[in-house]
């Protein structure tokens, strides 16, 4: 089959534009040679080079040739299509061309950035250009379709990021569903006492926002709930949300807490999750006094009624509003939304993974999150820093970078630990008068007012020892060390090993992805980095969107972040989601699958394979039918179809075979 005859519009006229990308491409590839070569290829009517094809003058070159009728389809040999394919398609559409009569040859990432040898790089660039030219000849003038956008939004995770995004969107008049898996919103921030570097009270700035969420007419708040399933596509997602039973009716409970008082357990007996195990709660509880919603929860794992069936149900007896309902069942809510913001947060590093720091072995070794609860006025000790023996520590060591910047655990810097360690050092010193020693590798304090805070701490006579801690042990060598924990570290400023005896050790644990982050990302069909953080579309230019249109990221689920950064990112995610919704419609790429009916044998192989349920079966015709609005263009059905009846726009057999042939013939 000759290329010329196969073209739908008579003889195709291909324009080839080779980009220098400054010296990114031209420094390695002989661009002029590539242009000269392109001129010799069949159907090429224009071939030229330019310093930056993505610039306005570069795009105008293409537009002029299109308008002059010199070309009707375009090959740009430049960078990865990920960034600039939309740019060139837009340029073509702007002057009346069809944007899909376009192909990019990636001679930067695939050639000049990965080759040093000029000659072979130029040869490879030529082969890729030949492939693109052969392919583009078979491109069809496809059309994008438009579908309306549902203006409601789903926000997953009710920490500070989710709260801020929810309020922003709700204030803009959108209907927001905020789903949180814990019984209350607030996330990690609700557990902190003070925030760095201003030392303003965490609860004082957070809880008003929490109540706003609860009261906002545009926000539907579902706590103790998880998103079980997502289907659909940008603008038209369908979510199934599983609401776990609290065994307390949210509509009736007013948060008087009398049920908790009346519980047959006279005292707390079970580890309190909110206080990270530092206190005990009853089977019926509220996580903390400002929990939102302020509704009691019954934990069936520990409740005597659920465990044994034998309980006087004193909690139900005492409740005047009859809010307690032991028969409450799990509920599934189905909602339709146009956009989704993921704000699922982080977990702290499990300090027991580093055995030599003694966490879990010595009771006076704490994680930083535990100490946040100890210094919190609403915490288990009422804000007093007390050891298990009830005494105040006289010397405290804070070990930085636990589970961060470490080849054996996590290589990355968790970004927040230096600053929160300074904050904890200040608070511990203030509350106990103890000598506080910070053991650090480097102090990382970039941020508004952060370095100044570090400076302040140095003036407060907190000690700083530069050296990664080797071990924490109860091995005493001198009488002064007896009964203490000894922190050993090489002080790299002094050039000697130091032993510092302390009464309390604080391990500044790093941030890690949530334990179920991988499950969640699969459910929402997004990617994650090697460490497990959710992956943004572009690290610099698209930090809140994902590779799945309509799904945005906010907060620490994308990577370690402090509160100001989380809030900024949540605002950005809300703004981008609003921009998407306010367009009113989304354009669907035409790279969808289609059925050539005369070839379809009705075998139905494709139907169950489609991950998006886009293929149905027409029993009257005995043929498969693809719903173009649901098809995401993954190509699974195309590969599976035994008769070749399923083909995919922009990836038809003839397009792909000709592209391959372009390379093979050249080589």
């Amino acid at each position: 089959m000759s290329a010329v005859n196969a073209s739908p519009n008579g003889t195709p006229k291909v324009g080839v534009y080779v980009c220098h990308c400054g010296i990114n491409i031209a420094g390695v590839i002989d661009v002029t040679k590539v242009v000269e070569f392109a001129k010799t290829l069949p159907n090429v009517t224009v071939a030229q080079e330019y310093k930056f094809m993505c610039s306005d003058p570069g795009q105008e070159l293409i537009q002029k040739d299109l308008k002059d009728g010199k070309i009707d389809r375009v090959v740009v040999a430049s960078c990865s299509p990920l960034m600039h394919e939309p740019t060139f398609r837009r340029a073509m559409a702007a002057c009346g061309g069809n944007p899909f009569l376009f192909q990019m040859a990636n001679i930067r990432e695939h050639v000049s950035w990965v080759n040093k040898e000029k000659g072979s790089a130029t040869e490879k660039a030529k082969a890729l250009v030949a492939a693109a030219v052969r392919r583009v000849v078979f491109h069809k003038p496809l059309q994008k379709t438009q579908v309306p956008v549902n203006s409601d939004v789903l926000i997953v995770g009710g920490g500070i990021s989710g709260i801020h995004a929810a309020l922003t969107m709700a204030d803009a008049g959108r209907k927001v569903y905020l789903v949180e898996r814990e019984p209350t919103i607030g996330g990690h921030m609700a557990k902190f006492d003070k925030t760095f570097p201003t030392l303003d009270c965490s609860a004082c700035i957070l809880t008003p926002k929490m109540s706003q969420v609860r009261a906002h007419p545009n926000i539907t708040l579902w706590t103790y709930s998880e998103v079980a399933e997502i289907e659909g596509y940008v603008g038209n997602f369908k979510a199934r949300v599983r609401r776990k039973p609290k065994y307390v009716d949210e509509g009736l409970c007013v948060g008087c807490l009398e049920c908790i008082e009346a519980c047959i357990f006279k005292k707390g007996k079970f580890k309190d999750e909110f206080n990270v195990g530092l206190s005990l709660r009853k089977p019926i509880y509220v996580p903390f006094p400002q929990a939102t919603p302020l509704v009691a929860v019954i934990d069936p794992e520990t409740c005597a009624f659920f465990r044994t069936g034998k309980c006087k149900q004193t909690c139900a007896e005492v409740c005047e509003r009859k809010a307690i309902d032991f028969n409450q069942k799990e509920e599934i809510k189905e909602i339709n939304v146009g956009a989704i913001i993921l704000a699922t947060g982080f977990k702290t590093f499990d300090a027991s993974r580093i055995a030599r720091y003694g966490y879990g072995k010595y009771p006076t070794v704490y994680t930083s999150l535990e100490v946040e609860r100890l210094v919190n006025a609403a915490g288990p000790t009422g804000g007093e820093v007390l050891l298990p023996n009830g005494q105040k520590p006289k010397a405290v060591g804070i070990v930085h970078c636990v589970g961060s910047r470490d080849e054996k655990t996590n290589r990355y810097c968790s970004r927040v630990c230096c600053m929160y360690s300074l904050k904890l050092a200040h608070l511990i010193h203030e509350r106990t008068g103890a000598e506080v020693y910070n053991f650090y590798i480097d102090m990382r304090t970039p941020g508004k007012g952060y370095e100044e805070f570090y400076d302040r701490l140095m003036k407060e006579n907190v000690h700083f020892i530069r050296g990664r801690v080797a071990e924490v042990s109860d091995w005493a060598m001198t009488p002064e060390e007896e009964g203490k924990l000894v922190i050993r570290a090489e002080d790299t400023l002094v050039g000697a090993v130091r032993r510092i005896p302390v009464d309390m050790v604080v391990l500044s644990v790093g941030l890690e992805p949530q334990p179920d982050a991988d499950e969640v990302r699969r459910r929402f069909n997004i990617s994650c980095s090697t460490e497990g953080w959710f992956l943004e579309r572009h690290p610099k230019l698209a930090p809140v969107s994902t590779f799945t249109d309509g799904i945005f990221l906010a907060g620490a689920c994308q990577g370690p972040k402090d509160i100001p950064d989380c809030v900024a990112q949540a605002g950005a995610a809300a703004a981008e989601a609003l921009a998407m919704i306010d367009r009113g419609h989304v354009e669907l790429e035409p790279n969808t699958a289609f059925v050539t009916e005369e070839f379809c044998s009705g075998c139905k192989t494709c139907v169950p394979l489609c991950p998006y349920s886009a293929i149905s079966f027409d029993t009257s015709k005995n043929k498969a039918v693809v719903n173009g609005a649901l098809c995401k263009g993954c190509g699974t059905c195309v590969a599976a179809c035994p008769s070749g009846a399923l083909q995919q726009n922009l990836f038809t057999d003839e397009e792909i075979f000709n592209e391959i042939e372009g390379v093979v013939k050249y080589v």
């Binding site: 580093i354 055995a355 030599r356 003694g358 879990g360 072995k361 010595y362 071990e471 042990s473 109860d474 091995w475 060598m477």
Partner: protein, 299 residues
């Protein structure tokens, strides 16, 4: 499956008690071992410091000889911690650095040998716990070590950096075995600290001080004896106690035995067959009270 046994130089000299007791214990547990014929020095730490490639060649010769025996699945039993480290280091470096591998291959070829990297280097602690299992060890115990408080001491070379059978900073295999034997183990943070190593022979004061630190801490925590898995540790800790008494004020004497000797004792084997007669500091008399003996590992 027969384990190819690589004793190493120390076990034929200062560490004879380890050699004898290990063989006895293997016999008792029906672990078939066969000594590698014509083995040579592993290169040890001292050669490694002088000429690395020669040290690797020495280790590789042993590995090549062992590989030839086992149809590609040789398991080599290496009791000496220094040999275990040296052989493992050679194994890793040969794999990771083609330049070293080239030199070593050439040296091996000159001796008509070749090594493809398929020998598994195993420490007896690893073999006893993973391959034999605590049940089989427990079944063989005839005279439980009840009432004996043991400080399990691994030294610095055994678990770092190559051993995969246990935690590098807080190994517990020896504790598990001692508990199965009925002994009580102490919890202490010094079990992987250096005993002084060759420093005891070169900068004596530093070496002795390191040994003293270990012994005095074991004493302080109530241990009756120190159990080791390394001939150099055993030698350093046991033989210089007189000097440690004088120089640092070590209080009295602390018996230091190989963990295999304690296994043999619990199995009811004779003192002589276990090389216990070679100890300078004799083991404590067995306590009449057979009570206690439970494990005491915290954390």
């Amino acid at each position: 499956m027969t384990y190819v046994y690589f004793p190493g130089c120390s076990l034929t000299s200062t560490g004879r008690g380890y050699h004898e007791s290990l063989q006895e214990v293997c016999r008792a547990l029906e672990v078939p071992i066969q000594e590698l014929e014509d083995w040579n020095c592993c290169g040890a730490t001292s050669y490694m410091a002088v000429d690395e490639s020669k040290a690797f060649a020495l280790s590789a010769r042993n590995l090549a000889l062992a590989e030839r025996l086992g149809n590609g699945s040789t398991q080599m039993m290496v009791p000496c911690a220094a040999c275990y480290l040296g052989l493992n280091k050679a194994q890793h470096y040969l794999q990771e650095f083609p330049a070293i591998r080239g030199k070593v291959d050439k040296a091996l070829a000159a001796a008509g040998l070749a090594y493809s990297g398929r020998v598994q280097i195993r420490h007896p602690l690893d073999i006893f716990i993973k391959d034999i299992g605590r049940d089989k060890i427990a079944a063989r115990v005839a005279k439980p070590l009840a009432g004996l408080k043991v400080a399990c001491y691994y030294g610095c070379q055994l678990v770092r950096p190559y051993a995969e059978f246990d935690d590098q900073h807080n190994p517990t295999t020896m504790e598990t075995i001692m508990t199965v034997l009925g002994a009580e183990v102490i919890d202490w943070p010094l079990k992987t600290r250096c005993c002084g190593g060759s420093l005891t022979g070169t900068i004596e004061d530093v070496g002795l001080r390191l040994s003293y630190i270990i012994l005095t801490e074991a004493q302080k925590r109530g241990a009756d004896l120190v159990a080791t898995a390394c001939p150099l540790c055993q030698f350093n800790l046991e033989c210089y106690q007189g000097k440690m008494n004088g120089r640092f004020g070590l209080n009295g004497k602390v018996p230091v035995a190989y963990f295999t000797q304690l296994m043999g004792l619990a199995f009811g084997l004779s003192n002589k067959s276990l090389g216990l007669n070679r100890l300078f500091v004799p083991l404590p008399e067995r306590r009449a009270v057979a009570a206690g003996g439970g494990a005491h590992v915290r954390g």
